[in-house]
Symmetry: C2
Subunit: 599 residues, 2 copies
Amino acid sequence: MDYRRTHTCNALRKKEIGKVVTLSGWVHRRRDHGGLIFIDLRDRFGLTQLIFDPEISKEAHVTASSLRAEWVISAEGKVRARGEGLTNPQLDTGEIEIEVTTFEVLSKAKTPPFSICDDTTETHEDIRLKYRYLDIRRGGVAKKLAMRHQAMMATRSFFNTEGFLEINTPIMGRSTPEGARDYLVPSRIYPGNFYALPQSPQIFKQLLMVAGMDRYFQVAPCFRDEDLRADRQPEFTQIDLEMSFAYPEDMTTLIHRYLKDLFKVCLDYTVPDEIPSMSYHDCLEYYGTDRPDLRFGMPLVRVDAIAKASEFSVFKEQLENGGCVKALCVKGGATISRKEIDRYTEFVSKFGLRGLGWMKRQEEGLTSSIVKFFSAGQLKELEEKTGAQTGDLLLFAAAGEATVNQSLDHLRRLIAKERNLINPDAYNFLWVNGFPCFEWDEDENRPQSLHHPFTMPHPDDLHLLETDPLKVRSHSYDIIINGYEVGGGSQRIHDFEVQKRVFDALKINAEEVNQKFGFFIEALQYGTPPHLGIALGFDRLMMLLTKTENIRDVIAFPKTQKASDVMMQCPASVSQRQLDELEVSIGTHSGGQFPAKRK
Amino acid sequence: MDYRRTHTCNALRKKEIGKVVTLSGWVHRRRDHGGLIFIDLRDRFGLTQLIFDPEISKEAHVTASSLRAEWVISAEGKVRARGEGLTNPQLDTGEIEIEVTTFEVLSKAKTPPFSICDDTTETHEDIRLKYRYLDIRRGGVAKKLAMRHQAMMATRSFFNTEGFLEINTPIMGRSTPEGARDYLVPSRIYPGNFYALPQSPQIFKQLLMVAGMDRYFQVAPCFRDEDLRADRQPEFTQIDLEMSFAYPEDMTTLIHRYLKDLFKVCLDYTVPDEIPSMSYHDCLEYYGTDRPDLRFGMPLVRVDAIAKASEFSVFKEQLENGGCVKALCVKGGATISRKEIDRYTEFVSKFGLRGLGWMKRQEEGLTSSIVKFFSAGQLKELEEKTGAQTGDLLLFAAAGEATVNQSLDHLRRLIAKERNLINPDAYNFLWVNGFPCFEWDEDENRPQSLHHPFTMPHPDDLHLLETDPLKVRSHSYDIIINGYEVGGGSQRIHDFEVQKRVFDALKINAEEVNQKFGFFIEALQYGTPPHLGIALGFDRLMMLLTKTENIRDVIAFPKTQKASDVMMQCPASVSQRQLDELEVSIGTHSGGQFPAKRK
């Protein structure tokens, strides 16, 4: 029989009753009941119930009794209404069923290593990844991949409409002396030489501006050979943009329009008309991080002055050593037990904080073992600064700025999560700007670029390049969603005189410039337009849109945290002939089949 | 000044006269004339003439005199009509010019290594590639890249509308035991093991069908470490498709609709409503190749029977040795000189043909030194079979089938090109089907797959699998445009019983199957829907759409025929630290900086 479908398994409704249709798909479930055989037929769109009735086709009924889960069949029959009380409101097709007249088994299936029809059973991720094709068939990942496709379509459509051209830049490029570790590809034609997979198309996108392409974008595959964190993959995708003759505000309004479009298309979610901005300085001051999650409040409150005036030596010592004291006000936290607070203390110790001070705001005022070190006026002032009201808990961290910030950032997020302060359906958007241009490199004993040496210093700070480079802010912007850095970019230097001043500030001499940035610096001298760009982490965006914490859920064939593909069993050994052709040999320590143990 | 543009350099027309505008771009040309300075300002969209008049701004006029080619400037001024007789009908903006009131130099430029404004001067391609950003700025490549973007948009939009999901498959995969040479990527985490860059997403796209994704596509980056022909690149792009529950005719009609859409969007060219099909057998019989260029006629005509009946021993010997005799009829070719025919003879000798017979059809009939070996009736018959008319030339090749076909295919195309038989604006589309499933592998002394072992044998030939495998045709289809194989695909085997019969025909035992195709064969046994696919060479399509013979014209940053990037200077040496981390070492024969000589 012709296995082409008239409908998918999620298409038929009451209005098709009486029609003769052909459906093809997988046997999701079989039930034998009262002389009838019921099959839920499945495809990626949904389920439709097939009925095999010996009264209608004796032959079909007999054959159907041999059907097993995951066999692929094609069935022809008439659409009919389900009987009284037999409709299934959970299913889009729940009001109808198909009286099968003829059908064919297209292919049989071995018993899968985990159930396809019951996706509530926890299956170890290694097994899911090994049989990724079955894992996808279960539906959850398939839906995320479908949304990923939709998001890519929306992205391309948006930037096309805005006059951007998608231009594919090379995947086999040159290893860069700075940044993360490159994946290398040995050259056969030039033995002993290597290509590198790109960590980003940064150099190419700037060259495209030099080339006059005006507005470039790319859904760009990028690669980093790093020890992987849970939310990283060795291959990842970035939405990469660069535009000429524009200012940062043009980029931020463009990306705002893009996010509005993307969230509307994918989720029918309305991104607000205003995305607030916060300076790097304020982010650290009030949230202890440059990517604050503003879905909830609980800001960090600096109480240095009060602490200094108090009698509490623990705080005063830290202040004298150049540290600071900040407080968190946990609304309704006065009921939190000592034991819980001890757990918080242990949690922040991972970030180097040696203790947490605390006070509870009771009816009678602030109480705790440390209030005695504060005057009534100081306690009053603490309440005012922190906004503590009856029933709240104040937590205090005193240490160096970095330690206080990191500890309270993590603690703030932990408490918010544990106390359900976060609306899981909310999205919070924030621009962060005013990053420092340089940071001090202790090893090299000279400033180094926070982003890269082509980042434009903020025009207001240009005069500080020679006198106080660490005070120079860059002309850059990061977009933060729900506390994740989803993207970042900057205005680039287009004036070679400014570029030279930046190299001087970095203490890089002409020879080093040439060695490190060679042809690119050359290119910038042939007439470079003012230009700026941004890169958005597309996998991260998809995690936010599909509400998953697992990056592997939004990638069809992901790698494990050890950068291996357990389905294909790769990386793998290759033949000696292949190595000989490349004139490379593997070290004496190496060898052994995947999954070799990591040294 | 604010360098943001009100218009691009190709936007202003007469209706904007009187408006105050800001343009930014590159100084294309400067002319000083009658006390005025004229600047042609350029961006990727076009040119606009700026006038610097000391009467309007003395300061701007003075500064403008220092402007050099390729400096980037931003200028504000009023749009005015060009004077009588000074309009330029060649330019879209040729009726207006801008009276500049203020302007600013945004960046200066060194003298480029070749002229940007005069792109008629031939520049060696190595120089163009070294300064690719300037080469693109000249405009020709930029226009092709813009069309490439447009074609990618049209492609994605089309397949999205047809229900296909774009799913990105991994770039770091596993080396395949068969096919072309892989690029390898050493693993740091599993030393001695390697990833491979994909030659195509073949395995993944079939797995996505097993996963139930129904319809997949991808604009897929692919990689092959081959010695490059002129029209190949180590990195190339393919439009990759796979669909379930469909037959080859569904795929060919889909691709036909796609090509209609693509050619309409990019060129406003109407692909005909019918794309003819030709069998592999007929292609070879009538054109000597499986990808005939049908923009012109001149088919190969088999004259075995006449040759056999003749007295011409040269032909007869070839026939006796199992060869054949075919003729080409060159219309109006009777005026072609002996010397030209000698050149043809030399040309075909490259393909192993030892000589060309010829006859000219004069008023009196066929003439040549060999007509004496043919009877009047045989000559008459030759004329009828070849359609030779007065003024035509017949060329004969006699040898083994393969040699005759290859020689006459090349000769036919050479003659068509030299005699201008090809309309450069025409596109000719052809489906080729009925390829053999297997070919005989002399080395291995067993059949091997012409495509791959998952290609479905033609249903009409399934019964021959055991008895006469070389007669089995595959269920496959190639799309040929203007004699180029633009794409090919096939129905895949979804029934494991058929798959086993194919492995048997290939004399591959279970162990070898497991070793070569392992996890993929496993996957096919968990319920595989009938599925089929195709892959289209996107770079080749772009070459056809942009009418270039040079694949590097349609790629932003291409590699040379030695797979090197002369701009970035890569492949390049890497640090010992990088090699140590990967535990690989380079052979004693290797080393030396790019561009090392190839061994």
